[in-house]
Amino acid sequence: MAAPKFEDVKVGDALPTYVHEKVTRTDLVKYAGASGDYNPMHHDETLAKNVGLPSVFAHGMFSMGLLSNVLVNWAGPGSVKRFDVQFRAITWPDDKIACTGKVTGKREEGGQKLVDVEIQCETKPGTRTIIGSATVAVV
């Protein structure tokens, strides 16, 4: 899709949603290999159950990575200036992750046209695993 134009962006605009249909253990192994985060709680089911967890769980940074799709699918790969998230709840295998965003402000600063957005990941209605904010540069 075409990148947004600064003058057309309005506070309240929704960014295109990105959905990861189902978290698999393979997703977590792929993310472990790519990120170098080999905390066994993300891939070793036996160890996770031994410490009382129902199963392995997803890296927070895996969800933040999925959430980045919302920003770059809207404003382009080089647009991200700031990306800040809080991890609020655990993401488990088989969860569906819906990543969404909304424009909260726009401003010009240092010759750049900047758009502020709020972003989140939700695994079920009302269960927000990530909340955060970001700033992207648009033309």
């Binding site: 990105y18 990861h20 997703d27 792929k30 993310y31 290999g33 790519a34 990120s35 170098g36 985060d37 927070g60 940074m61 895996f62 933040m64 990575g65 999925l66 980045s68 799709n69 920003l71 770059v72 699918n73 790969p77 080089g78 991200v80 200036k81 700031r82 990306f83 800040d84 998230v85 809080q86 991890f87 955060g132």
Partner: protein
């Protein structure tokens, strides 16, 4: 409560590391987080957009430490109980995007130590910063990790 022994590390930088940003790592990382834009995979396409090579995904800085040349340190060795750790949040700030072929210097430091009341008692919040600089010494980006430890 005894003073946190890590307090002495606040503001101290570890020895810097050198990282050669690699096309294979960018492709692998982009795939792992579901990115599909050809600018992450196809150098010819990236160049058509005016980029010098493949562009780094927004959360790439989290993974770059593993590609450091031997001899670097990353950050100060903070001591905590890994069984009590939670990853509270992450902030990434970009001065410019990362590209394949960049040679970056990573400097790690413990920015701050704070405490907050959690659901099951007090937690210590460590904010770790990794800043990445280009070969001219200009900052490219900074990654802040907020990690908490149960007390």
């Amino acid at each position: 409560m005894a003073e946190n022994p890590n307090q002495a590390l606040v503001g101290k930088e570890g020895p810097p590391s050198t990282i050669h940003v690699d096309k294979a790592r960018i492709r692998q990382f982009a795939r792992a987080v579901g990115l599909t834009d050809p600018a992450y995979f196809d150098e010819a396409e990236a160049k058509k957009r005016g980029y010098p090579s493949l562009i780094g995904p927004p959360t790439l800085p989290i993974c770059l430490g593993q590609d450091a040349e031997p001899g670097g340190g990353g950050g100060p060795q903070v001591k905590y109980d890994v069984r009590k750790l939670l990853h509270e949040g992450t902030e990434i700030i970009y001065d410019r995007p990362i590209f394949a072929g960049d040679v970056l210097t990573m400097k790690g430091q413990l920015k701050s130590i704070a405490t907050r009341e959690g659901k099951s008692g007090m937690r210590t919040i460590y904010t770790m910063e990794q800043a990445f600089y280009d070969q001219q010494g200009k900052r490219v980006c900074a990654l802040m990790l907020r990690i908490s430890e149960g007390q």
